[in-house]
Symmetry: C2
Subunit: 380 residues, 2 copies
């Protein structure tokens, strides 16, 4: 045994040194790659070209997959690696280019610009060459002055204050100014804006929090109220900042958000509450758990690392939402008999019915979550 260990330690050293040398060479190449990418960015900027070039990316990936196969490497692993590299270079590019202004010099008033979300947009507008003014709660006496000559008034206040603020600000606006809001419900604010303002109106719902560092590939829902043509420069600007824009009506938006936000967060809250009531030993369950449980419990923990007030706003926002959540609880009560009677037959029947209804989404979900689980195993 001693002899084997000696043999091993003598022979492993040069192999490991060689691996370390190769890794260092890879790093040098990555640094050179980064320099080239920076030249591409400078060129794109000089020529007013967009950063993201989906065709070029997919092209590169296909070529790299083929080369990987030729060289005896796993094409999937190679694709993952280069997606990381490419995304990093895209974030860097966006970071440098996102500040291009569509209407630099235009005057933007952000109502609630001292809040987190308002401050984030204020900073983006400023960096893109807009003249930004901020209206805070304590500043209403100057509101008329702040509204003079503005091109855009952007309402960024808590949900329950939105309609009141719209009613106060609208009469002070120049008639041709664009009035927009960032609220996470859209029917009431857009209706109020259209009623009180005669100029262009745009509802905006950014689907991310103020802690987001880049708008790259972040989703923003747009619900036009009136005269989208006049407001289109703002939509373009959001796109230039890197966001993906989804157009909808206020009604459809609110209906979908009942599910995407209210129901989902409420269900997560209920799950967390039950773990608390049962005083479940979280850390011990994690030791026992597959990556997928870790991921799911992580979604629960994630909620409670955030602001209670924000989630209260989202969950209790409208009467429709509260009704939906009550229906959700009613739906669960239907399962009591099944549990009481150990009725696995009903369970299997319902399960298969739902599976069929989900259709191809289930398989897609299985693939995507398996991909993520692999990343999680890699990392932790």
């Amino acid at each position: 045994m001693k002899k084997k260990e000696k043999l091993f330690s003598d022979q492993i050293r040069p192999l490991r040194d060689e691996i370390d040398r190769i890794d260092s060479d890879i790093l040098s190449l990555l640094a050179r790659r980064q320099e080239q990418v920076e030249k591409v960015v400078a060129l794109k900027k000089a020529c007013d070209m967009p950063v993201f070039h989906p065709a070029r990316e997919e092209d590169m990936i296909s070529r790299l997959r083929n080369q990987a196969k030729e060289k005896g490497l796993d094409p999937d692993v190679t694709e993952n690696l280069f997606r990381v590299i490419i995304r990093q270079s895209r974030v860097k590019q966006t970071f440098r280019m996102q500040y291009k202004g569509v209407r630099p010099g235009a005057a933007v008033l952000i109502i609630g610009g001292a809040g987190q979300m308002g401050a984030m947009f204020a900073s983006l507008f400023e960096k893109s060459g807009y003249r930004v003014r901020i209206l805070t709660e304590s500043d209403w006496e100057n509101a008329s002055k702040l509204c003079a000559g503005i091109d855009l008034a952007l309402v960024s206040v808590p949900i329950e204050k939105t309609v009141g603020v719209i009613e106060k600000i609208a009469p002070l606006l120049p008639p041709q100014a664009l009035l927009a809001d960032l609220t996470s419900v859209k029917h009431e604010p857009v209706t109020a804006m259209c009623r009180r303002h005669t100029g262009p109106v745009l509802g905006i719902h950014p689907l991310f929090g103020p802690s987001t560092t880049s708008l790259d590939k972040q989703i923003i829902v747009i619900t036009p109220g009136r005269d989208l043509d006049s407001g289109h420069w703002l939509v373009e600007q959001l796109g230039l900042w890197g966001a993906i824009l989804v157009q909808s009506t206020p009604g459809e938006h609110d209906e979908i958000m009942e599910i995407v936000q209210a129901l989902r967060h409420f269900a997560t809250f209920c799950f967390g509450r039950f773990l608390f009531e049962q005083q479940v030993k979280i850390q011990r369950t994690l030791e026992f758990s597959s990556p997928i449980y870790r991921l799911e419990l992580g979604m629960v923990g994630r909620l409670f690392a955030q602001d209670a007030g924000l989630y209260a706003q989202i969950i209790f926002a409208t009467k429709e939402r509260r009704e939906l959540l009550k229906q959700f609880i009613t739906s669960l009560n239907q399962h009591l008999d099944m549990l009481e009677n150990k009725d696995t037959r009903t369970f299997v029947r319902q399960f298969n019915e739902i599976a069929q209804w989900f259709g191809p989404f289930s398989d897609q979900a299985l693939r995507e979550s398996t991909f993520l689980i692999d990343r999680l195993i890699e990392r932790f």
Copy 2:
């Protein structure tokens, strides 16, 4: 504008060619790295050394992070890249070494070896040099013959059949043979094994499905029944195959699985059921959704891509589980008043109470899930 486009297309070509050359060089280095890793594997095999070397890995990562900083690269991105590369090489290494047998030549009888999980273990044992016999449902007349002289009997049948099968097989076993099972509940099977068999007894619960391609870093819970020393070779064998082993008692195991499996899957089932009842337009909600919603809905879709019968087994397995799930529904009913009265104050108070109870796990969960969301954005 035309002029700008001409300028751009003239100048971008050489830059892109250079990037493509660099990428190709990176691939060549990765291929050379793979060759070196293969030499390391051969050496480890010759010297009976383990594949995974946590200290060496963390060492490499720290060094690479420092080198990255020196070369002007982002250290986090660099770490991510090399974790992918290293994991790939570890999987390859495990793949080649996992078949080393702790007791090659020993006779293993797998009861239910024609099922998916049984077949997976049968294949692992065979590749590691064991003499594997399979007992299927239609083969009980040969059971005595199949049991003659075996070293291990491994029960791999559906939960509800486990105790019956144990009672049938135990009297046929050589007294010194190890009796083990793979069921996802542990109290009843381990009790039954200890009652009916006088030799060593080991409860095993692999926390993964039969579709898993490698045991690398997969978790297996071990609940010893009797004489762990005599059964220890099997625990070692599972470790050699790459699994992470967690030791527990049958009671603790079952209590934790009520949460990790039954409650979680049931809650997911209820959520999916409600989406179905409401006929929610899944695809449209995905267009509106942040990556985190996509991830959470993916967890729901994932469930329904799998076998209804398997989940019925898990959810309805024991009376304790069914009681816990009824309590879960009861817990939700408590929230009806809060919704009815738009009582955000109670919501915020409960939310903060739970957040405090979760403690540091919440922040960890936020970090981990943010990491995954970034991977998801990269990919899709």
